[in-house]
């Protein structure tokens, strides 16, 4: 048996892909060829070392894991969450769904209205340290922003510290693991809030 073939077969064997008959042939070769035997033993040990050492369960403790979960779950876009509460509400109140349907027509025109005004605006006490790129406002890593920060029609990308509240209106908020926000984090969707307000209004006008 050729040594080059033997080397390919060694790998196939370690991948559990070598047919039984070939395994016997390989074993015979390894018994007679020292170079291949040494190589096979090294490959086998590499395999064992990688498997055992790569998988260290202590790599993330439960505290880090919980913090990460918290960070991921808090990132969910507010829109879909809002929409669910709303659908459930319609299901519970079929009588007003006609009014709601009417409101949906209104809603879409409001959305268009809101979307026409999509200029990014930022307000806060400490804006000099922010990095603005297109519609993304970044609080760079290691930077401390004093006071509240409000971002409208844009994406907030928080990598550093904010000593105050962060409010995002009609936009997205991304918090990196390095981020620290001492105050409250609020996401407001104006179009939906407006819509909600309109729906409650039309319901009360129907009731009386």
């Amino acid at each position: 048996m050729n040594c080059n073939v033997a080397i390919v077969w060694m790998h196939d064997y370690l991948d559990s892909e070598l047919p039984r008959d070939d395994v016997l042939q390989l074993k015979n070769h390894l018994l007679s060829c020292t170079a291949c035997r040494v190589r096979y033993e090294q490959l086998e040990r590499t395999e064992a070392l990688m498997r055992s050492k790569m998988d260290s369960p202590a790599i993330m403790d439960s505290e880090q894991s919980a913090r990460l979960t918290q960070r991921i779950v808090s990132q969910f876009p507010a829109k879909r969450r809002r929409a669910t509460g709303w659908t459930r509400w319609i299901r519970k109140h079929p009588a007003v769904s006609v009014a709601a349907l009417f409101a949906i027509v209104m809603f879409s025109s409001f959305v268009t209205m809101w979307q026409q005004d999509t200029q990014l605006s930022i307000s806060g006490a400490d804006l000099a340290q922010l990095v603005i790129d297109g519609d993304t406002v970044t609080v760079p890593e290691g930077v401390h922003i004093q006071g509240d920060l409000t971002i409208e029609n844009g994406k907030a990308n928080v990598l550093g510290d904010v000593e105050g509240n962060v409010t995002v209106i009609d936009g997205q908020l991304y918090q990196a693991s390095t981020a620290h926000i001492s105050g409250q984090v609020k996401k407001i969707d104006q179009a939906l809030d407006w819509f909600w307000y309109k729906v409650t209004q039309s319901i009360s006008s129907l009731a009386y």
């Binding site: 991948d15 590499t46 790599i59 990460l68 969910f76």
Partner: protein, 188 residues
């Protein structure tokens, strides 16, 4: 029969937040593990996991449940890791090594209750050698080896995740294994 994940994904798509949280619970730690082995940096690994779920959430409508959910989510995560590896400047790994001691094995690997000075030293040395061996693997081999050894995936599953033919995966496993063997030769 639908898998648990496919069912959770469908509920999440309907707006069920707790179903999505359950998906996070099922995959978060596994993904972190994989990303950490690819990037050897805690911060980046966390960011990749977070990004993965954000993409999952945004693309739930497009999830095709003829594909295993795990294949889909690992595909998103490995692509994010490979992107990061490609963006790294050549000097990065050197910088990371000197600055990111917290991420550099040894200390963080050992459960805190047996963190004695001896075990720390012993572990960190082996871990360090393995770390260096994996670190120097090119991205396309690294992803294959991490999925193979850490996630214990079959060659077929790895091919599905990386969207390459099984024969390619096989070649990469063989080459990757030879590469690691040479790196570890004197320590074996």
């Amino acid at each position: 029969m639908k898998s648990l994940e496919a069912r959770l994904a469908r509920l999440a798509l309907k707006g069920d937040q707790s179903a999505f949280a359950e998906l996070v619970g099922l995959y978060q730690d596994k993904l972190y593990h994989m990303a950490y082995r690819m990037l050897y940096n805690r911060q980046e690994a966390e960011d990749v996991v977070q990004d993965t779920f954000l993409r999952v959430y945004k693309n739930l409508e497009r999830y095709d449940d003829s594909l295993k959910f795990s294949t889909w989510i690992y595909r998103i995560a490995t692509n994010l890791c490979i992107d990061r590896l490609r963006k790294r400047k050549p000097s990065y790994s050197l910088d990371a090594e000197s600055n990111d001691h917290e991420g550099l094995d040894g200390y963080s690997m050992i459960p805190s209750d047996n963190r004695t000075p001896e075990s720390e030293l012993l572990l960190s040395e082996t871990q360090h050698i393995i770390h260096q061996a994996i670190e120097t693997l090119p991205a396309k081999y690294k992803s294959v080896m991490v999925l193979r050894y850490l996630q214990d995936m079959s060659l077929q599953e790895i091919g599905d995740v990386l969207e390459v033919p099984v024969t390619t995966v096989k070649t990469r496993v063989h080459r990757g294994r030879e590469f690691l063997r040479k790196k570890l030769e004197h320590k074996l």
